[in-house]
């Protein structure tokens, strides 16, 4: 094709569309190439987006009918043993008003399409049902466009933004980033369970399109490094669980078995009781952290979002990092277009912007987090059991003197996890976060 674009963006997810919005708003000629039938058709995530990151791209998103499911006013973290559940929850009036939409739930099929419509409104061209199969390079190895699986499918562009997600056949083929190792990937499965709005309101103690997120750790992953979650949407609840791919392979566990076990847990089952399964989704999560992030740029290309392995495993933030990296990539591209220099010398600015932003700062802060989870398997096996038994001892009311109860509680915990191991965990955790 003769036509030349300022930027070709591979992938119409949060990273790619964020970049497309910024670029198109500033008058750049942008094409977004999405393999799904529409943006969001092939995407999945836990379900939470962050208002601040979106607001930097679409300031008036709330007025523009952004398909928000529920504004998150309460965050719970639960630590589950086989039969018990220890929870910590935080609700704040600020999240109802001043910090409204700090975090909110969305469904990707609706949100991604809405987001892409905004980019189209700014003038970006969105081409769907089209797979980018290769990068076009000139004699000097500079990326000058992409090849797609359609007839006459070459697209020439001054710069290519790779935002094609964690599972990237394009990365495998062109090597723009190293292929992810199983230990750097989590496989997450999620079910959408339909429930009447009032039932969700009642079960989670909310009303008026406000909602709750519940992160879940503990024995539900059967000793594997992983987490689960329950998030409220308007008329459905997202319930999901994920575990490290290497662990899943080693233990020969099927992800849906984990999900079924989670759904039957006595602390979880009442939340989803009588619900109707609407959808079942599965996706990879890049949880390798800071050390798995590839070089983010080269001559004529940049990498953003999941494709660049940007995921905060502790805070469960991915879309946030994707949108911010897409925005920073777009700002770098605009600068490079202005200079007329799209070599790595200018595109390096993206890497610098990322290092200055919370994205890489956070990932660096939690650099040791993924190895913490890897080395402390007791977090998912013996510790939840021990902690549960200890609390059961303390909370059982009979005629045993409290001091003796405290002693048995402590013994219950130590019996499960050795004292040295506990101290080591506390020390490592302190260092990791």
């Amino acid at each position: 094709m003769e036509e030349k674009f300022d930027a070709a963006i591979v992938g119409g997810g949060p990273a790619g569309i964020s970049a497309a919005c910024i670029l198109a708003k500033r008058g750049a000629k942008v094409i977004v190439i999405e393999r799904g039938e529409y943006p969001g058709a092939k995407n999945m995530f836990g379900g939470v987006l962050y208002g601040r990151a979106l607001g930097r791209i679409i300031p008036d998103y709330a007025q523009k009918n952004c398909p928000i499911e529920r504004n998150i006013v309460e965050s719970r973290v639960s630590y589950l043993s086989e039969e018990g559940s220890i929870s910590f929850s935080y609700r704040d009036q600020a999240f109802f008003e001043k910090l409204q939409n700090n975090a909110f739930t969305v469904g990707r099929a609706k949100f991604d399409r809405w987001f892409a419509d905004q980019a189209k409104g700014f003038g970006a061209l969105l081409v769907c049902s089209t797979v980018v199969t290769d990068l076009m390079k000139d004699g000097a190895g500079r990326v000058i466009g992409v090849k797609t699986d359609r007839a006459e499918g070459e697209v020439r562009a001054k710069v290519v933004l790779l935002a094609d997600g964690v599972n990237s056949p394009l990365a495998a083929k062109t090597g723009f980033r190293p292929e992810a190792r199983p230990g750097q990937i989590a496989l997450a499965v999620k079910e959408l369970i339909g429930l009447p709005e009032e039932v969700i309101d009642e079960r989670f103690g909310v009303s008026g399109a406000n909602g709750v997120t519940n992160e879940i750790l503990g024995s539900v992953t059967g000793g594997m490094n992983g987490v689960a979650f329950v998030y409220t949407n308007r008329r459905s609840v997202s319930i999901g669980i994920g575990a490290n791919l290497a662990d899943l392979a080693r233990q020969r566990v099927r992800p849906y078995e984990m999900l079924e076990r989670l759904k039957l847990h006595p602390a979880i089952e009442p939340l989803i009781k009588d619900g109707k399964p609407l959808e079942y989704l599965a996706h990879w999560v890049p949880e390798g952290g800071y050390d798995s992030v590839p070089k983010l740029f080269g001559d004529g290309f940049l990498i953003a979002g999941d494709s660049a392995m940007l995921f905060n495993a502790l805070h469960r933030e991915g879309s946030n990092l994707a949108m911010t990296s897409g925005r920073l990539a777009a700002e770098t591209i605009l600068e490079a277009l202005g200079k007329g220099d799209l070599s790595s010398a200018t595109l390096k600015g993206y890497s610098e912007r990322m290092k200055e932003s919370f994205v890489l700062k956070d990932l660096k802060t939690y650099r040791r987090f993924s190895s913490l989870l890897e080395t402390h398997g007791e977090l998912f096996s013996t510790l939840p059991k021990g902690a549960s038994e200890a609390l059961r001892q303390i909370l059982t009311v009979d005629e045993t003197p409290k001091k003796a109860r405290r002693q048995t509680a402590w013994e219950a915990l130590r019996g499960r996890v050795g004292l040295f191991r506990l101290l080591r965990l506390v020390f490592d955790a302190w260092r990791a976060v």
Binding site: M1, V127, T130, A151, G153
Partner: protein
């Protein structure tokens, strides 16, 4: 020559459910798509265009969002596209729809006479297969329904010959132009758009015609022109053939009852014994 292809935007029936209480289709949140039979008709038109030379105009009646099926038509190779969009068109049954489409085809004909109208044999949402024949009847076109193949088309003699599906076999018929073809899925395999065509279709301006533009009478379009009333829609009950034994109380009792009943049949017993011997 000038071909007109009628394309309807339909809900993706793989996702459509019937609300058991109201007996109406639940369309909320269901994806839209181009009726697959109509896309086959478009592909057939493009094939004939390549063989005999013609201009292909795609037509659709629907809300503004129905422009996506026309963009799809343009991406595949239609030369022109017109969306018939007017609040007055809403709620049309097949009588009003065939009226509206035939008025649009007449309007197209004032610029360049339409030699061939192509449409799918039916839409996958209503399954009536009435709109195509309705257009043919209104415009006095030769009617070729359930077409599998156009064997030849002679622009000079203004005739075509087609193979059509009939009960128990196939029929080969020929007739004069102008004509209407309603096509079966076997007629053609829709092509995948090339990237430049896809991009051009996304940027194309789609013509929009309202009732006035096609000179349609207000009392004959939309709900006003639709004498059909839907009395009820129902999902058929699933019937599984064969006897059943209730195992709720006791599984072993149910199994022995089932076996007892099966073996009380002499033929079954004889057949079973024979099979047993043959295997053993």
């Amino acid at each position: 020559m000038h071909f007109a292809v009628c394309i309807k935007q339909v809900p993706d029936t793989a996702e459509v459910k019937i609300d058991p209480e109201t007996n109406t289709l639940v369309r909320a949140g269901v994806e839209s798509m181009a009726n697959p039979y109509d896309i086959t008709a478009l592909e057939a038109a493009l094939g004939l265009k390549e063989k005999y030379g013609a201009r292909v105009t795609a037509l659709s009646m629907g809300p503004p969002q129905a422009d996506s099926v026309l963009r799809q038509a343009l991406s595949m190779g239609a030369d022109d596209a017109v969306l018939l969009c007017d609040r007055a068109f809403a709620g049309a049954d097949t009588l009003a729809t065939s009226y509206t489409l035939s008025k649009a085809i007449e309007t197209l004909g004032t610029v360049e006479p339409v030699d061939l109208v192509l449409c799918g044999k039916q839409a996958i949402d209503g399954d009536t297969a009435q709109t195509g024949p309705g257009i043919a009847a209104r415009l006095g076109l030769t009617q070729f329904t359930y077409v599998l193949d156009v064997e030849w088309l002679d622009p000079g003699k203004r005739r075509l010959q087609a193979r059509r599906k009939v009960e128990g076999g196939m029929e080969v018929i020929s007739g004069p132009l102008p004509a209407l073809l309603s096509v079966e899925l076997e007629m053609a395999t829709p092509r995948r758009a090339s990237l430049p065509m896809l991009i051009a279709s996304l940027r194309a301006e789609i013509k929009v015609w309202d009732a006035k533009a096609i000179g349609a009478r207000a009392d004959l379009v939309g709900i006003k022109g639709s004498p059909t009333w839907v009395k009820a829609i129902a999902s058929p009950q699933l019937h599984r053939a064969g006897p059943k034994w209730d195992a709720a109380e006791s599984v072993s009792a149910a199994v022995s009852a089932a076996l007892g009943e099966l073996f009380s049949d002499r033929d079954f017993e004889a057949g079973f014994a024979k099979g047993w011997k043959a295997e053993g």
